[in-house]
C-alpha cells in the first residue's frame, strides 16, 4: 500500500504542476519556487505531515516536500533553542539535498562536456 500511495500522490502532485504549465504562463523557476513556498505553508497549517505519513516519498520527493522539510526544521529548532532557530532550522534540515545538488553539479561540470563543445 505504501508504494501505491507513493505513486498516486506523487503523480497527482506532478499533474497539478502540469496543469499550471498548460494553463498559465508560469516558468519552471516560478513553479518550483511556488511549490516550495506552498510546501512551507501546507506544513505550517498541519496539512502536509499527514500526507507524508500516508504517501512517504510520494509527498517528500516533490518540491512541496522540500518546503515541508524547511518548515519542520524551523519548528524543531525553535522548540530546541527559541528564536535563533528561525535562522538555523530550515537550511539545516534541507542541507543534504542542497549540498548534494551543488556537489554533484560541480562534479558533472568537472567531468561533463557541454553539448555545444562537441
Amino acid at each position: 500500500m505504501n508504494y501505491l500511495w507513493a505513486f498516486v500522490v506523487g503523480g497527482a502532485i506532478c499533474v497539478v504542476g502540469q496543469l499550471l504549465i498548460d494553463y498559465t504562463s508560469l516558468t519552471p523557476a516560478r513553479i518550483l519556487t511556488g511549490y516550495v513556498v506552498s510546501g512551507v505553508i501546507l506544513s505550517a497549517v498541519g496539512l502536509y505531515k499527514p500526507l507524508v505519513d500516508l504517501a512517504g516519498a510520494g509527498a517528500s520527493v516533490p518540491l512541496l516536500g522540500f518546503g515541508h522539510l524547511l518548515a519542520q526544521g524551523v519548528r524543531q529548532a525553535v522548540d530546541m533553542c527559541g528564536l535563533p532557530g528561525i535562522f538555523t532550522g530550515g537550511l539545516t534540515a534541507a542541507a543534504g539535498g542542497i549540498a548534494a545538488s551543488i556537489l554533484f553539479g560541480l562534479l558533472a561540470a568537472l567531468i561533463g562536456k557541454s553539448k555545444d563543445q562537441n
Binding site: 506523487g10 502540469q18 496543469l19 523557476a29 510520494g58 518546503g67 524551523v74 530550515g90 537550511l91 539535498g97
Partner: protein
Amino acid sequence: MKLNPKEYARMVSRTSPPSPVVKDCLWAFFVGGGICLLGEGLRQVFLIWYDVTMAGTLTSIALIFLSAACTMAGWYQKLAAKAGAGTLVPITGFANSVVSPAIEFKAEGWVTGIGAKIFGIAGPVIAYGTAASAVWGVLYWLMGKVG
C-alpha cells in the same frame, strides 16, 4: 448512416486523440509517480539502517545523484520534453536545474560561469523557501509565547 449532432460528437470524441492537456497530464502523472515510487523504494532500503529523517535525506541525495547522472548522459532532458512537470516537480527536477547549467556554462569559467549559473533556479527556490520558513518560525515562536 444518419447521425444527429450528439451521436456525431460522441463518435468524434471516441476516435480523436486525447487533447494535449490530457496527454501532458498522463505523462506527468506516470513519470512523476514513477520517480516517487523509485524514491519510496530507496527510502524503504535506507530505513533498514537509518532513522526516518536520515532515510529521507539519503533518499533525496540518491535521487539527486541519479538525476545528475541522467542529466550528464542527456537522458533527463529527453524525458522532460515529454513528461513536463513529471520531471520538473520532483527533487530530481531541482537537481537537473543545478546540474544542467553547471555543464552548459563551463565555457564561461568556474566562478561567474558555473558558480553563478547553477543557482538560476535553485537560488530563488532556496531564497523564498528560507524566507517562508522564517516567517513560519516567527509565527510559531509567537504562538508558543502566547499559547
